[in-house]
Symmetry: C2
Subunit: 514 residues, 2 copies
């Protein structure tokens, strides 16, 4: 689909044959945006936001806690105040970085069919991430554990519309110095999708890189040649890059791996209260982080990112799916295209439970990301409480919303047979098409089949228990987990880490840096 002036078609990539079971031209695995990117600001305002962001970097600077990062900036000509740890970055440094940062790169996966080309026009959904807690209606709300992490990774694997993994539930029962082992091995043992690692210090990052090389049997060159693992880098808004984040930007860049730069600029809290102001601060911080990756290794893959929204004025909590969130997302897309980089946005929910509020918030936010043509949409399924909990029932309900969006990436056929004059001629006025040959040829595959939506009438629905979609989702995730089997190759890939992890654990693991 596209705008009236020129329709953009989903691009198919090699190896992505249609499913044999379904002749429907559906491809959730690699998606291209169907809609023309929409805007919230004039082009003049976008240029002014970009120029102001540069001015912030030049005149105000970014506090950069990591000495190595300050040194990289200084070597490139930035003005560094060591005492105040402030780095003032010139426009030339930013311009150079935007020249070398690649507009398109490949993200590898255990299963080649799950590879992604990360570029403007691509569309990827990522699950709710960074949650310290998990919640489901069977076992209640609880701090995340390794079991929960394994379950949520299994849920992510089970739905093709989730394109990359994420740190859904923090496994708090695993010591932090060993947690990177558990999180990466879990991902590799249960999923063949692109993997994630936290940037929590140099040793953890390098051990993750080594585990990836071991799991996939890669030499250094093959590893460096593509993105095999990614991290999310949140700046400390306003205008601060902390030690593990700076270290992560440097280490992932040097390893040729992906940093998704994501300032979390809440308008009215850590950022100006205006959408334009929050975006401008976000943009300056993102440009600084992107520059750092390119100073560490020119050409390193990096994603621009936006997570600007507003605070709720009653509670002070972050809000999602609000008008301001959508406007910020649209503006962020304009800024990303202004600098020519692929970018991430986010949907998500502030609701405390899988209810109508949570569904409205996440569906609204996801549509905003679609209209903004975000390359990747994080927190697209399962994110409750503004990220403080991953919800199992929420995940299932959100899958319905984003599968619907994924379906829109395939245009409906408009050929003569689909228009169907003969079919229409074959049914008398007031008749029906149930038994029409035109229907019979297509009925098994014509329509999207819901995951959790129940369309039975009120009587049938009442007789079957009068369940809400959250009640039904509880059964669905249990069934999915009960039937879950790790895909081919997972056991082998994960098994290749056993010895490394055993040795690392014996050596005390790797410290986290803060």
């Amino acid at each position: 689909m596209g705008d009236e002036s020129g329709r953009r078609r989903p691009r198919r990539r090699g190896g992505e044959a249609k499913s044999e079971r379904s002749p429907r031209p559906v491809n959730y695995t690699q998606l291209r945006h169907p809609f023309t990117a929409q805007s919230a600001f004039s082009q003049d305002a976008v240029a002014a936001m970009h120029d102001t962001a540069i001015r912030i970097l030049q005149e105000l600077g970014i506090k950069t806690l990591l000495p190595e990062a300050r040194e990289l900036f200084r070597a490139a000509g930035a003005l560094v105040d060591e005492e105040r740890q402030m780095v003032r970055i010139g426009r030339d440094i930013v311009d150079d970085a935007l020249r070398t940062a690649p507009p398109s790169f490949r993200i590898r996966a255990g299963n080649p069919k799950r590879e992604q080309i990360y570029e403007d026009g691509s569309l990827m959904f990522l699950p709710g991430a960074g949650c310290p807690n998990v919640t489901d209606s069977v076992r209640g709300r609880r701090p995340g554990s390794l079991r929960d992490f394994k379950e949520t990774i299994s849920l992510h694997q089970a739905f093709d519309v989730i394109h990359m993994l994420g740190p859904s539930a923090e496994p708090q029962d695993v010591p932090v110095n060993l947690r990177h082992y558990a999180m990466l091995q879990t991902q590799l043992s249960l999923s063949d999708k692109p993997t994630f690692a936290y940037a929590r210090g140099k040793q953890q990052a390098e051990e993750c890189f080594e585990m990836i090389r071991l799991a996939h049997g890669l030499d250094d060159a093959a590893f460096a040649d593509d993105v095999w693992i990614f991290t999310i880098i949140n700046t400390n808004s306003p205008r601060q890059l902390d030690i593990p984040m700076s270290q992560g930007l440097i280490d992932f860049a040097r390893a040729g791996q992906l940093s998704i730069v994501t300032p979390f600029c809440l308008a009215g809290a850590m950022a100006p209260i205006t959408v334009a102001g929050a975006l401008t601060l976000q943009h300056s911080e993102a440009l600084a982080a992107i520059a750092l990756t390119q100073l560490a290794k020119p050409g390193a893959p990096v994603s621009y990112g936006s997570f600007s929204s507003n605070v709720d004025m009653k509670s002070g909590s972050p809000a999602f799916g609000t008008p301001e969130h959508v406007k910020a997302t649209l503006g962020a897309g304009q800024l990303a295209r202004h600098i020519g980089l692929p970018w991430r946005a986010a949907s998500g929910s502030a609701s405390n439970i899988s209810d109508a509020q949570g569904a409205t918030e996440n569906t609204t936010g996801a549509w905003g990301c679609m209209l903004a043509n975000a390359t990747s949409i994080v927190h697209a399924a399962g994110w409750l409480e503004g990220g403080l909990a991953f919800g199992y029932e929420k995940f299932i309900n959100d899958i319905e919303a984003i599968q619907t969006l994924a379906e829109l990436c395939t245009a409906p056929p408009g050929d003569d047979d689909s228009i169907g004059f003969d079919a229409i001629a074959g049914v008398d006025p007031g008749g029906h098409f149930f038994a029409s040959p035109h229907t019979m040829e297509r009925y098994e595959t014509a329509f999207y089949e819901p995951v959790v939506a129940d369309l039975s009438n009120f009587g049938a629905w009442t007789e079957s228990g009068g369940l809400t979609s959250t009640d039904r989702a509880a059964k669905i995730w249990q069934t999915v987990l009960g039937e879950f089997k790790a895909p081919a190759g997972c056991a082998e890939r994960a098994g290749r880490l056993d010895e490394f992890i055993a040795k690392g654990t014996e050596a005390g693991g790797a410290p986290i840096e803060s």
Copy 2:
């Protein structure tokens, strides 16, 4: 907002001053679409659907049960088979109708501030309509009554984002021959928004027109000059116009009042299973109905309309907010623009309760209508069970979703002060903007204030009862109804009908035709 190439600004109309209490540039009362219309089909496919629809009219014809309608078609040159009641309509008749049907017209209301210009680019939300039942969590599900109709009309009046009234809940406790009195007087007594009447026969329609003239103190010319009342015309798909619908098209047209033509083409049931086929059938039926209005009175206001979606293959029920529904809506918008008429679309929900499913369905459908640039979006709030019940809690939750869309019609400011370099310079790295003058000047009005969303954290939310948004909505509608006061002028307008209704009732009311 708009696309990158040229931003379309909300157009302000006279008298729509900003609210004095809020300096925020919000105008829910008259909205203009912020996004560029998106498409589902190529222009060639749209032209082929239009041509096929004409071919259906020419070669297959429309069964037209009302003799007066057949006579109008025949007089215009259509080929009429009286025995089979089939009317074959030539392209010239359609082309003539599309030349005279106005692309823009004014819809009047009790309050001039609630007037609408019905044209491409305008955006109006209409409530869930046509429901035989109502449901709320206090009193349960029940057949609609006059009390329910009064309550739902009050709810429609209470939210500016609802632009026109509708037959939310059928007052089944009022005899059908008197029901038009009760429904119109209720609307006039409780609301100053544009009013609706069912097309259930000539006498009922004419009595409704007379009541409108009495209520607003209009002579015949003043009444005929603008749209004061509208009706929805559903064809009997496939290819049939029944007696009350044809009569309504003729009577409303001759009175200069609005028919919103809405074939209900469920792909796989009353229409071909393909989106293109369902739309083509819809288009042919709509063109026939539009032609009838223009034969009755050239220049009569008429709205193209779409309500094509798919059936659920498990239950046979109509589905809403599905990929097929959104694709059909996008295609319908292309067809409407192809013929140059304003048009209605619909969101709605098949869920049996206000839950995550219902919220996802309606939010998805409403975004689809936004992207398709529908002039009016029917069933945008409160529609459950595919229209078999109007839900009070659903209405409140849907209001949140569509108010968010309404907010998007106002672009965020992008001036230098909003970009806020000085504000950013005034906050140290790692600090916050809570006390920034930039924030203090704006915090009361910067953000959309939710109706039902609760953004408190899990602890506070749990302490306050752990309510879902549906639970909270139950309190909200009770508060809204408890505080409801009919707007100025309503009592006078409605009171002017008393004598007419008393006399009409004494005379036995007006029969419905079928």
